[in-house]
């Protein structure tokens, strides 16, 4: 238990008016300082490769998606946001996703999918905006998720860098 000794107020403080004027003067001084407001749509927040935005699928330079629908991100996803149905393809890789959906309403941007992916096919982009008129519209299908590799390159490099650092600490 703590007994708080209240400070004995001086006459000026008890009169209250001087204190009021002191308070008013403080707010009046702030009146002329520069605002720190950021005008959001025109001035977006800066993002860099550390930003963990919405996950996106890598489209390789040959135009094909890097994903082989192995299901690792699906099983790693703690929010059950990812649904993948695989299928056969004539490409060398044999297997590709026929349906790859991320329910962005469920996605918690944890980055586990990025970590789980054995094929460098899914990375956290710097895209953060999420708005639609329907719930269905926020379940992103493959076409909405595809991004060229060049667009995700800073994040890819960053992930490689931190993975290397992590492996060094393990050794």
């Amino acid at each position: 238990m703590v007994i708080v000794q209240r400070k004995e107020l001086t006459l000026a403080e008890r009169l209250y008016l001087p204190e009021i004027f002191r308070g008013l003067s403080i707010t009046f001084r702030k009146f002329f300082e520069k605002p720190i407001t950021r005008q959001y749509p025109e001035e977006p927040l800066p993002t860099d490769e550390v930003t963990r935005g919405q996950p996106r699928l890598v489209v390789k330079d040959d135009g094909n998606i890097a994903c082989v629908s192995c299901g690792m991100c699906e099983i790693a996803c703690p929010a059950y946001a990812i649904t993948i149905d695989g299928g056969e393809t004539d490409r060398q890789i044999e297997r590709e996703p026929k349906r790859f959906e991320i329910d962005m309403l469920r996605c918690i941007l944890c980055g586990f999918c990025e970590e789980a992916c054995p094929k460098d096919a899914i990375f956290m982009s710097n895209e953060l905006e999420l708005a639609d008129y329907t719930r269905r519209g926020l379940i992103y299908d493959m076409e909405k998720l595809k991004r060229p590799k060049s667009a995700l390159q800073p994040r890819i490099d960053y992930v490689y860098k931190i993975n290397k650092r992590w492996r060094r600490t393990q050794a």
Binding site: C70, E74, I75, G86, G87, R95
Partner: protein, 516 residues
């Protein structure tokens, strides 16, 4: 329900065994425990019987041991205090007083070295491989293997998509040459079709003269393949195995009633039937007809606003404007009125109804004063001497035990044509009678159908949806008198109630007409 074995000898190669005399056993020591072992079985079997996990690739309990993979090596001494050495457990017979140690550093080291050789050429394409998740090589690598390979040589390059007939695709790179598939055709179907061809690192599994595989049992080699070398074409890349819910069930395609596991993607979509070990019915195997019979249980729902053309869901009666959906209660009342109005309604059961449903049908028929019969089509030509009986009625034995008589489809159609009212009950009953023939029935007959599929029959007056055999629980009795269990593997569509419940509600309506 009769569970006693059929006293009459059947054509089955796996009749219900008489309680055999207990085989003579000998005592050995496994991981410090004194255990009893069957001297006719290899050492690995004794270990597995004791719940000791000894890895295996080439050994399969349903096949002869060959000792080609060497992953099952354990440390064995002739007796306590004797010098021990590492041997392959699958090729070592048990001898009295033998001391077996599976968990020693020496055994682990040998297994790890063996695994490293197996992985030397095994491609790292687990993300693509269908076997991932149920792959023995993956599991043991995780437990025993080392994270990194030491070889600087490139892996061998072989054909990755070699078709072996209609059912099987072979990935030669993934194959570890365990020869389980070769032995399956030699020892189980007795029609050898595969062999290991080539020498050294170029050895591959091949058919004679590159002929496609034939026979009704090809699918089993994909099951027993310890890696992802042999995969089923219909299942290829359809699902990740950890997304499949597994439910114990019974195969519906013949009166053998093989024990199976129904595997459904995310618990909704049936993707695979796999055999389940049952020493008294099907051992480890099942036929391809049953394995790929998931079309009847994955009927699509009818198009929006339509009643026919897909699953029969909910209750349907014929009104002034043709077939229309109605509430279940009013449909049941309508059907009850219709059946009671007829003096002798014809009740035909499908051979797919379970014992529980058949009893409900019997009660209903007793109240109507008729005897039900079950549709019994002629045997098909799929009969073989391994599993398939050629009889397409999975519950023939059970229905016969309940005193329900069979009736040929042709005879049934003749009776239908003259009957004033008829009640057709059960999965596939329309298909077994012949949909074309049913469509020809005159509209004068009052026809009530309780089936899975909705057909556009002119004579149809009322129809209720029933669950398929993967959507209900119950029991079938196979040709030898063994009980086959059905469990709910996937949920029935909305508006489809269990058949026995529907029949009992119909019975209530038939009994208490005055109240309505």
């Amino acid at each position: 329900m009769s569970q006693t074995p059929n006293p009459a000898p059947s054509s089955s190669p796996n009749p219900a065994p008489a309680p055999a005399a207990k085989p003579a056993t000998i005592k050995i020591q496994v991981d410090g425990r004194e255990v009893e072992a069957d001297p006719k079985q290899p050492l690995i079997r004794a270990c597995h019987d004791q719940g000791v996990d000894v890895p295996m690739y080439c050994y399969h309990p349903g096949l002869s041991p060959v000792g080609s993979c060497r992953i099952c090596q354990v440390e064995v001494a002739a007796g306590p205090g004797q010098p021990s050495r590492v041997v392959a457990a699958c090729r070592t017979p048990v001898s009295p007083g033998m001391v077996v140690q599976t968990d020693t550093p020496k055994a682990h080291e040998t297994r790890r070295e063996c695994l490293e050789f197996l992985l030397k050429n095994h491609p790292l394409d687990c993300p693509i491989c269908d076997k991932a998740g149920e792959c023995d090589l993956q599991d043991y690598s995780f437990n025993e293997g080392q994270g990194k390979g030491r070889s600087s040589e490139p892996r061998r390059k072989l054909e990755k998509r070699k078709s072996l007939g209609d059912v099987i695709v072979l990935d030669e790179e993934r194959c570890i040459l365990c020869s389980r598939c070769v032995r399956f055709f030699q020892e189980v179907t007795h029609k050898p079709q595969l062999t290991v061809s080539g020498l050294g690192s170029r050895s591959t599994i091949a058919t004679f003269a590159d002929k496609p595989l034939s026979g009704n049992y090809q699918g089993n080699i994909a099951d027993i393949c310890p890696v992802g070398a042999l995969t089923l074409k219909p299942f290829r890349f359809q699902a990740r195995v950890w997304n499949l819910s597994k439910t114990l069930s019974t195969c519906a395609e013949c009166s053998r009633g093989c024990s199976i596991t129904v595997e459904a993607l995310r618990g909704k979509e049936v993707k695979r039937f796999r055999p389940r070990y049952n020493p008294q019915v099907n051992q480890h195997w099942m036929c391809d007809v049953g394995r790929f019979a998931y079309a009847p249980v994955t009927q699509p729902l009818p198009p929006e606003g339509s009643i026919v053309g897909g699953r029969l869901i909910g209750a349907t009666i014929r009104g002034y404007n043709g077939l229309e959906r109605v509430e279940l209660e009013s449909a049941l009342a309508e059907i009850a009125d219709l059946l009671r109005a007829s003096s002798k309604p014809l009740v035909l059961l499908s051979p797919f109804v379970t014992q529980e449903e058949a009893r409900a049908a019997l009660e209903l028929c007793a109240s109507l004063g008729v005897a039900p019969r079950f549709v019994s089509p002629a045997p098909n030509n799929l009969k073989d001497d391994l599993l398939h009986t050629g009889d397409p009625c999975p519950n023939r034995r059970g229905l016969s035990d309940l005193g329900i008589a069979p009736i040929e489809p042709a005879a049934a159609l003749t009776e239908l044509a003259s009957a004033s009212a008829a009640l057709l009950v059960g999965e596939r009953v329309q298909a077994l009678l012949g949909v074309a023939e049913l469509a020809k029935l005159t509209t004068a007959a009052r026809l009530v159908v309780l089936d899975v599929v909705a057909h556009d029959l002119a004579a149809l007056d009322a129809a209720l949806g029933v669950p398929t055999h993967v959507e209900k629980s119950g029991q079938w009795i196979n040709v030898d008198g063994h009980v086959g269990v059905l469990n709910v593997a996937v949920p029935a569509p909305a508006g489809v109630a269990p058949l026995d419940r529907t029949l009992r509600e119909l019975l209530e309506h038939c009994r208490a007409p005055a109240a309505r």
